[in-house]
Every structure is written in structure tokens, then in C-alpha cells.
Symmetry: C2
Subunit: 120 residues, 2 copies
């Protein structure tokens, strides 16, 4: 039972949060049976929080949770804030393997290819 | 003579701005001869500004400038702020075709594929 949690910053503009939930839904349908579920969580401003989303995965029987940062740059949020929200949940649930995947912007090659397509 | 201007928000964290310049350099090398140049510009906080970068393209002989928003969500920056900075430059240089490409986050399918790879 592996769960994927897509983490974005969270916006006062609800349409931006909805875009993140749509991406999570798309990941779920693309991934087939790879994940029991794919959900969105938010670092600030919007529910569910990261700890809240992880807790929900655990309560639904997750043995493994992958936290995937939907961020373009490796700023403080990616380097510090997300790990600081994940670590207490890992300590609380040592039987669950919680990992943080590389942030979106780190996939430079793939993103560059998308950008060139968009520019045309 | 077609120029590409990759536009990001601009950050107080210089490493984030440098990531954007690196992506612009990568686009330039990937695109081969498609663009005379690919440069980075910033909506706020960091130089060059969007009008400044467009002006520079025009002075270097661009007949066409593509402004490419390096943003994940279609918030105020993409919907309003970038067009408001582009329009006066278009009015000033009617002989140059200035277009704004779709923002990065609009390429949902490509981004979802990248996210699934990162999660593994």
C-alpha cells in the first residue's frame, strides 16, 4: 500500500489550489495501480496540511508514503519547510516508510523539453 | 530573428534566479538555431525586467519575441501582470511580433509524466 502526496505551496486564489488537485487526480489515473491513492496537500494556507495528509494515508493503511514537492525552485520551502513537516510524522509512524521525492524543478531536461514545445 | 524570453517571478534567493538562467541556457542549447537567443527575465525583484529584456531583443534585431512564463499556476502574474508588462513594448515596437506563450503549468500531461518519474 503505497500512497503519493503531491505538495504545493497553497494559494489564496482557490483556482490555483484546484489546479494542484487536478494534477493529483491526473497522476492517480496515469499511475494505474502503482499507488493506492494520490492526493494533494499544501504547505501553507490550505487544507489538507502535509502532516494531515500523511496521517490520513497512514489511517487508510499506507505502508509507504511518497511526498512529491510541486515546486519549481529549491528554495526554503523545498529545502527546509517540507522536511520539517514530514519528520515528526515519520517519528510518529516508524513502521511507515515516508520519503520525499525530488522537487519538480529538478527535472531540468524534461521541463526544458516542455518549455520548448510551449514556445512554438 | 526570433528571440525567446523565459519569464520567472524573481526571488530574493539568488540561487533560485540562477536556476531560471540555467534553464534558459539549457533551452538555448536544446533549441539549436530556432532562436537567435534565449534569455531569462523577471517579473519582480530581479533584473532584467520583462520590458528590459524585450527592449534588448529588439535592439539586437529581433523580428519576433516569444515570452514564455515559467509559472506553474495561472494566477494573477500569468493572467494580468505579464501581459501588462508586455503590451507597452508591443505598442512601442509595432514592427516586432511579440507573443506570450502558454505558461508551464498548462502542459498538464507532460508535467504529470515528469512527476510520476520523480516519485519513483
Amino acid at each position: 500500500m503505497k500512497h503519493l502526496v503531491l505538495v504545493a505551496h497553497g494559494s489564496r486564489r482557490e483556482a490555483s489550489n484546484e489546479e494542484v488537485r487536478m494534477i493529483a487526480a491526473r497522476l492517480k489515473s496515469l499511475a494505474g495501480t502503482r499507488y493506492a491513492d494520490v492526493t494533494a496537500a499544501f504547505l501553507e494556507l490550505v487544507e489538507p496540511s502535509i502532516p494531515g495528509a500523511i496521517q490520513c494515508c497512514v489511517e487508510r493503511g499506507a505502508r509507504e508514503v511518497v511526498v512529491l514537492p510541486y515546486f519549481l525552485s529549491q528554495g526554503r520551502h523545498v529545502a527546509t519547510d517540507i522536511p520539517e513537516q514530514v519528520q515528526p510524522k515519520q517519528a510518529e509512524h516508524p513502521q511507515v516508510q515516508i520519503t520525499i521525492a525530488p522537487y519538480l524543478g529538478s527535472a531540468e531536461e524534461g521541463i526544458a523539453a516542455i518549455l520548448l514545445q510551449l514556445a512554438q
